[in-house]
């Protein structure tokens, strides 16, 4: 019993982490159809910037905010200067964003060196909440809370606000959106920036849990894509469900069939794509 409860909790907290990561990609890739290989780098750099901020100031929330804003700016630059012109050209997008990913990887190495670090989380987030014999690490609860809050805010903005409606319109049909007077250029930029912002938030939050270290960018990249694919591109709900699914699948897969770990992750992804190429909740 303890096993199932703890594993389910772990799966959900891991899924929450994945959602933070993939939420951003769901916007950039899912909505804008930009194959962004730099997404992992946003995560990595966000973590590193957060690390530096917290070392200098000691404020965890500031670290999250600073990291996210810094990366959002970088993302906007990448979008504006390069990606904007590559709409519809997957190959160009893959190669350009891969180029940036490599550059960022090396820059991170130059600036922060190659040693692994953890982001020191505030004391109130460490330790565990004990219920009988079960331990629920508080940081994991924190991740779940952050993911839930982000999901809620995203949903509210996209579904209930005018800006959100403009975003959805821009992404669905840029021509039409332009026709009704929406500043497509600006809105696209905002969406992209938001995607990078979320990835960086994930980087800082995850930094307190799994650490920041070289290689983290390419490690999580496939996972982020899996979540967006499985959940369905262009659907936030899909990203949420996708992350939970992947989190639980990965967790139970590792617990029950450790030898097949990558298989339990990518085989379902391929299977889902085979049946529904647009993913579970995606729309073509």
């Amino acid at each position: 019993m303890e096993f199932w409860v703890t594993q389910a909790f772990n799966g959900i907290s891991y899924g929450a982490l994945l959602f933070l990561l993939a939420g951003g990609l769901s916007l950039i890739f899912g909505m804008m159809r930009i194959v962004n290989m730099t997404h992992g780098s946003y995560y990595l750099l966000g973590g590193y910037v957060g690390l530096t901020v917290i070392r200098q100031t000691g404020y965890f929330p500031l670290a999250i905010l600073a990291g996210a804003l810094a990366i959002a700016i970088i993302g906007v630059f990448e979008w504006n200067a390069f990606l904007k012109r590559l709409s519809g050209q997957e190959l160009g997008q893959v190669l350009t964003t891969m180029g940036f990913a490599l550059i960022f990887q090396d820059l991170a190495l130059i600036i922060w060196g190659g040693d692994p670090y953890t982001i020191p989380a505030p004391a109130m987030l460490s330790g565990a909440h004990r219920i009988g014999d079960l331990y629920f690490p508080i940081y994991r609860i924190f991740i779940i809370v952050v993911a839930a809050v982000v999901a809620l805010i995203l949903w509210l903005v996209l579904e209930k606000t005018r800006v959100g409606a403009m975003m959805r319109a821009t992404v669905d049909d840029p021509e039409m959106a332009r026709g009704v007077g929406i500043n497509v250029h600006l809105i696209s930029m905002v969406v992209f920036a938001l995607g990078a912002f979320l990835a960086a938030v994930a980087g800082v939050v995850a930094g307190g849990f799994v650490g920041v270290y070289p290689g983290a960018d390419f490690e999580i990249l496939p996972y982020a894509f899996v979540v967006v694919i499985v959940g369905g591109m262009g659907s936030l709900k899909g990203a949420l469900i996708g992350s939970l699914m992947v989190g639980l699948l990965d967790n139970f897969g590792k617990a029950l069939f450790p030898e097949l770990s990558y298989f339990t992750l990518f085989a379902p992804m391929a299977a889902i794509l085979a049946v529904r190429p647009t993913g579970l909740y995606g729309r073509a």
Partner: protein
């Protein structure tokens, strides 16, 4: 048009050719050493520690051996065995080095081993610890100045059973050769001393969330033996503590789980962890204290075993070169000298090689403690003269297969 193209292509080819025009060095020019390690990518920090240690050692002898200057060419393997092979080719065929040192990844070691023998280039495995490189798949032209993965855990298994008094231990180790060999060595001697390994968990290399594995650990064990490397060493102790396990199950582990490489980034969650290794920055000898102080002054961090092993590897090469009067061009003599070197005052203590080319050295059992606000691996016990075969006869030992996931089998699981 087409003329320009022809000219351009020829120009490129000419450029490519001139790139590699290296004047042939006269016989008594500098001694050229190639140092191969990962300088970019995920393991870059380890590579840096290694090259720093190696260079520092040579600088201490003014980069000169028996009157000949020493030149080191550091090459980046990029963490890719194929690149490592290409670099080795370059070092041997183009740069014409007299010896090669370095390497820390097992797959790079295995990739290079056949080539080393083919080139007959004296090679020093500085850090790579894959057991079989000096056991069942030995390389004639290489010696190791580091360790085998199972080496420290043989005495540690006994220690855990007899001194720490553990009877039932669960292991959790990264699921690849290094993890298997570390657990294998521990399990063998632990069970021979009366202990029982009751569970073996194998998280895949690169696991970030140990939740699924921590939840499975048998709560009725006496202790948990963890083998983590690099980034996973960083995150495991905290997750272990947060899962409520630290309070119930003492954490012991392989040396890399609490190595000086990650200690600065760990917090109080690591205090009390006990692990064995060939080195500790806290070894209380004048030689080591000097080494730690100098390294720290120069590179801003406490040296771990990556740095020490490379530092000693350079010294090893220097001693061997001295023994042949600087005549490193005679490969056979130089190799023989490499195999005969004995150092009694390396930072880690006395070292000499066994007949398979692996060090016989001290194994230190260390405990993570806080001193002046920093975490150190305080030495609580020393085993002297430990070889890769522990107390077993080499021939008997080698008859058995190399340690892997299923060997030794988990009888009490």
């Amino acid at each position: 048009m087409s003329t320009k193209r022809i000219a351009a292509i020829c120009g490129v080819l000419v450029l490519a050719l001139t790139v590699d025009v290296v004047p042939a060095w006269p016989q008594k020019g500098p001694i050229k050493l190639g140092f191969l390690t990962q300088m970019t990518g995920g393991g870059a920090a380890v590579g840096k520690d290694m090259s720093n240690g190696f260079m520092m050692s040579l600088e201490e002898i003014s980069n000169q051996i028996v009157g000949r200057k020493v030149e080191v060419i550091i090459e980046d393997t990029q963490g890719d065995p194929a690149q490592a092979l290409t670099r080795l080719r370059k070092l041997v065929e183009s740069d014409k080095v007299n010896a090669v040192a370095g390497i820390f990844l097992a797959n790079e070691g295995y990739a290079l081993a056949p080539k080393v023998d083919e080139y007959r280039i004296p090679t020093v495995w500085a850090v790579v610890s894959a057991d079989d490189l000096t056991q069942r798949k030995p390389t004639k032209y290489a010696v190791r100045t580091g360790w085998t993965s199972s080496q420290p855990n043989h005495p540690f298994g006994e220690y855990a059973a007899k001194t720490l008094g553990y009877k039932r231990v669960a292991t959790i180790a990264m699921d690849y050769a290094f993890g298997w060999e570390q657990v294998g060595g521990f399990q063998r001697t632990f069970e021979e001393a009366g202990g029982q390994i009751v569970q073996k968990l194998w998280p895949p290399l690169g696991t970030t969330d140990f939740g699924p594995f921590l939840a499975q650990i048998k709560r009725d064990a006496d202790a948990v033996f963890a083998v983590m490397v690099a980034a996973s060493s960083l995150r495991f102790p905290k997750q272990y503590q947060d899962a409520g396990l630290k309070a119930r199950l003492p954490l012991i582990g392989g040396g890399t789980s609490f190595d000086e490489f990650v200690l600065p980034a760990l917090g109080d969650e690591a205090i009390g962890a006990i692990s064995p290794l060939i080195y500790s920055a806290a070894i209380d000898t004048p030689v080591n204290q000097r080494f730690v102080k100098e390294f720290r002054k120069k590179y801003g961090k406490v040296p771990g075993y990556y740095a020490e092993a490379s530092y000693t590897a350079a010294r090893w090469i220097a001693e061997a070169a001295k023994a042949v009067g600087g005549n490193v061009e005679d490969k056979e003599k130089f190799l023989a000298a490499l195999k005969k070197v004995e150092i009694s005052d390396a930072p880690r203590g006395p070292i000499k090689l066994d007949t398979y080319g692996n060090p016989i050295q001290n194994i230190y059992v260390r405990k993570v403690e806080k001193r002046d606000g920093e975490l150190w691996n305080t030495v609580i016990q020393t085993f002297t003269g430990v070889s890769q075969f522990w107390k077993y006869k080499p021939e008997e030992f080698l008859k058995q297969p190399v340690y892997d996931r299923n060997y030794p089998a988990c009888k009490y699981c």
